[in-house]
Amino acid sequence: MKNRLRVLRAERRWSQAELAERLGVSRQTVNAIETERYDPSLPLAFGIARVFSLSIEAIFLEGTNDADNAASETRAREKVAPAGS
């Protein structure tokens, strides 16, 4: 599953270790989620959403093909910064 974790973390200037500590997981887990080698459980996804003060849909992007992902990413960006704001 695609996600915007790396971008969101970079925006806040957090290291992977820092984010891992906030989430109570290992740095390897953060790295695996960022590189999309591992999809987090629902409780951890909620934890990530809480840490970034965003909804889960604004971080994790549904869809399996590029078109779906592009549409999903656009929707996620609109949730973070609504159009016209």
């Binding site: 270790a17 891992a20 500590e21 906030r22 109570g24 997981v25 290992s26 740095r27 390897q28 887990t29 790295n31 695996a32 080698r37 591992y38 987090p40 459980s41 951890l44």
Partner: protein, 140 residues
């Protein structure tokens, strides 16, 4: 704000993890000591059946206690670490099954020397040492 539990670089709670590993290591040491003591000091010919069963089970109580510590330690890991340990464990069981079945066929068909069941556990442990880093690499 609720204070955060201290987490080390493996996403684990160090105290609970250390307690679990300590129990595991002590359990194994006690197991080895009991096995050696029984081998050195117990006269098997003079044992009653009940005492024989008790002495046979005694080392395993220490081993099971140690394994419970191992489980406690693993339960302090985060979800990805637990997944890695589980996958590696399943792979090592598969490797052990393949090796023992293959050797079993060699015993039957080619008359290879019979091996004790006691080689199975070291084989699981040895294959685990290989499957764990391999599984870990998949998520790096």
């Amino acid at each position: 704000m609720e204070p955060k539990a201290r987490i080390d670089n493996q996403g684990q709670k160090p105290t609970a993890r250390a307690r679990g590993w300590r129990q595991f290591i002590i359990g194994l040491i006690v197991y080895v000591v009991i096995v050696l003591a029984e081998g050195l000091f117990v006269d098997r010919s003079g044992l009653t059946p009940v005492l024989g069963v008790v002495l046979a089970l005694l080392p395993m109580t220490a081993a099971v206690w140690g394994m419970l510590g191992w489980l406690d330690a693993i339960r302090t890991f985060d979800e990805l670490q637990q997944k890695i340990f589980s996958e590696a464990g399943l792979m090592s069981l598969g490797v052990t099954a393949a090796v023992t079945f293959t050797y079993g066929f060699l015993e039957t068909l080619l008359g290879a020397p019979r091996l004790s069941m006691f080689v199975v556990w070291p084989l699981i442990a040895a294959s685990y040492l290989v499957t764990l880093p391999l599984t870990r690499r998949r998520y790096e």
